[in-house]
């Protein structure tokens, strides 16, 4: 009898009957693999996992145009803290959020319990979307538009921090890259 470190001693080892406990280990572990594989779809519906997203190809020009159109249509005020536009798109609409070195724009104001289609893309390099304090994280790439179906379930002020080191050629602004989402009743 060999071990797992030495070749089998029987030259016709494939035709040897398999020991009962080994068969059980094989069947159980294979069944578990199949279950976990199928259950991967389950995590899209169960548990506090990252949301499933749709992805489309885009360009920085096309995406910034969509952001500008939304901003022109739904800007409601200037943010007191930053002076940036606060955009409050109607519930159920498409909301566009652009990442760029080094900011997330515009500032969004959403309503609790309402559904939105949140589109995100980068206008230059790869950035990270990190919503705090909820700790929801995504990567945001240039050339790709990611769409998330979101329903804010808490009111408050949420910060977006860049979670992917985005550096810079002449300056280092990654640590200052912030955005904001307001959720109201």
């Amino acid at each position: 009898m060999g071990t797992s470190y030495t070749p089998p001693t029987n030259p016709d080892w494939w035709r040897e009957p398999i020991e009962r406990t080994e068969i059980w280990w094989i069947v159980l572990s294979f069944a578990w693999c199949v279950f976990m594989f199928i259950w991967m779809t389950g995590w899209h519906f169960v548990g506090p996992q990252n949301m499933s997203n749709e992805t489309y190809k885009t360009t920085p020009e096309a995406f910034s145009k969509k952001v500008a159109e939304m901003q022109a249509q739904y800007t409601v005020r200037q943010d007191e803290a930053t002076g940036e536009d606060v955009v409050a798109p109607p519930p159920g609409s498409d909301v566009y959020l652009a990442a760029m070195s080094w900011q997330y724009r515009p500032i969004l104001e959403l309503q609790k319990g309402q559904k939105y289609r949140l589109h995100m893309s980068s206008l230059d390099v790869g950035h990270g979307f990190s919503l705090q304090p909820e700790n929801i994280n995504f990567q945001v790439y240039p050339g790709y538009e990611m769409v998330l179906n979101v329903t804010p379930n808490k009111t408050g002020t949420f910060a977006i921090a860049c979670g992917e080191y985005c550096g810079g050629v002449n300056a280092m602004g990654h640590h200052t890259m912030l955005g904001r989402i307001y959720v109201k009743e």
Partner: protein, 51 residues
């Protein structure tokens, strides 16, 4: 080799395959390449353009 019942038994083809380390190496490279790299590239190339 002491448990051999007959020296003329042709090994099962699965045994021949599993004993072939070069085949195992080829499969170890090929399977992840097809199911990870090529599938991923195919997926990225088929992303639709944003409406």
């Amino acid at each position: 080799m002491s448990e051999s019942t007959s020296g003329n038994v042709k090994p099962h083809f699965m045994q021949t395959a599993l004993d072939n380390q070069w085949l195992m190496l080829a499969l170890a490279v090929l399977v992840p390449t097809v199911f990870y790299t090529l599938w991923g590239l195919w997926d990225v190339m088929n992303i639709p353009t944003a409406p």
